[in-house]
Symmetry: C2
Subunit: 284 residues, 2 copies
């Protein structure tokens, strides 16, 4: 079996990305530092400067992404002065001018957002997962993320409804039998563009940007084994960790030394490991 690699860089993504080769990455998945008015915060970019700050990075990402690859951007606009900021929308418009295709917007519904009350709004329990592509055709392994179908399907399939037969006959003519057999074999359905995941509550020293299920889902969907996954704002390295466990190569960048050291320690052993089995594929 082939060797996996985990390349970790310490520094500014804008610069470090220049070290990566053209068309070399299969999936970019990241949750960049959110815009913030408080400058002191880690990565606190002011909402007004967010687009300007991100565009040089997305330009590099466009260069290094394979034509068949995908870029998943996890982001959500902050409330500023009682109003939602518009920098995410401005970013999408600017990235399209840069050459990106804005293929889809997935919704991450955070099921267990903590209760709270404000006079003018409710709890924010969703985030955007923006899908960008370099070309209109890209790799998407839909079968990998199928979910179990509800029980209703089996009951229905036992006695195939007359309507379904008619519906198919009227359109296709004969030969509906072929399709029906498709139905009978199937107990899994394709998912939608709404993901229901709980936010991870990790009591550890470093907080993960998102639960492992999130990168896992997109890595399954957009890559195969030994593909290369990049997170240019790796933080505690959740995306890279999941990628390696799923037999994908990983590249990560972060400007904070503590994160760099932590991820390095966690992932460098990967370099030495010859994966000879696929058993550890699923987390938990």
């Amino acid at each position: 079996m082939k060797k996996l690699f985990a390349d970790i860089y310490l520094g500014d993504s804008k610069e470090k990305l220049k070290l990566l080769g053209d068309n070399s990455i299969d999936l970019i998945m990241t949750s960049p530092p959110y815009a913030d008015q408080r400058k002191s915060t880690y990565g606190g970019i002011h909402p007004d400067n967010y687009v300007e700050w991100f565009l040089p990075i997305s330009e590099q990402l466009l260069r290094i992404l394979k034509p068949s690859g995908t870029f998943i951007l996890n982001i959500k606009e902050k409330v500023v002065n009682g109003e939602r900021s518009t920098y995410v929308m401005e970013l999408i418009l600017a990235m399209r001018k840069q050459g990106w295709y804005w293929t889809e917007e997935f919704i991450w519904h955070k099921k267990n957002s903590f209760p709270g009350k404000w006079p003018n709004r409710f709890r924010d329990s969703w985030e955007r997962l923006l899908q960008f592509n370099k070309e209109k055709k890209f790799h998407m392994y839909q079968d990998e993320v199928m979910v179990p179908m509800g029980d209703w399907a089996k009951a229905r399939l036992k006695n195939l409804s007359e309507t379904d037969k008619i519906r198919d006959n009227s359109k296709v003519g004969s030969g509906f039998g072929k399709k029906i057999s498709n139905w009978l074999d199937r107990d899994m359905a394709y998912p939608t563009n709404v993901l229901h995941l709980a936010t991870e509550c990790n009591n550890k020293n470093h907080s993960a940007a998102f639960p492992q299920e999130l990168p896992q889902w997109f890595i399954k969907l957009f890559t195969k084994e030994h593909d290369v996954v990049l997170d240019p704002f790796m933080g505690s390295g959740t995306t890279l960790e999941v990628a390696n466990r799923m037999i994908r190569n990983s590249v990560g960048i972060d400007i904070v030394p503590e994160y760099y050291e932590m991820v390095k320690e966690k992932l460098i052993p990967v370099d030495l490991v010859l994966f000879e089995e696929n058993e550890k594929y699923e987390p938990k």
Copy 2:
């Protein structure tokens, strides 16, 4: 005891809205004709012209809305050439320039989204519910839309509480344990900005744009009895019907004579009814 009214207009919203007085509407809730490439469709506005088409209407809406009022816009961008259109984002940006505050974006998760399988996308199962306001302060009756807190939530809170006590104590100081106990005592919780509703499956002659629960929720949240609710693209009149049943006055506009006649027939009796009881408040 007060009389309700239901004013229905036949014609172009851009023109008919001019007949309404300044600062006279408490809630505008509408689902305008979606952009469409096919011109023959009812209300088929081309994506490229959508913003230009909508702005004169939103200008009137801004004029007639009370300073304390809210505008809820149900909309979702189409896929054009394998890519999501950007006209919704452009509209938000343009409406802000017009003077609107973009307060919030609710997500309507359509549990029973349209079936289908495509090579590079999944089923679209959510729509945007954009909340715009005229002023930063507006009426919001949050207690009206509280939902029963499930047992799972209580269990979740108990688990969370220790961690959060620690986390918050370290930040804010003492006194958070009290807050947790407040939440634990409670049977009802405030909702989030994600709404889970199925699209109405009505076998009747005219289809509603959205299920009754949708306008009902926002009418509860943003109006009180005898307030005025406007739908400038009323279609089959779902919003107005719900408004009247909830003892709110209603104003509706549509350019299609069939819809006009239908809604008129359905709602005109309201003009004659003296509501002396609140029993019929809830549909079903």
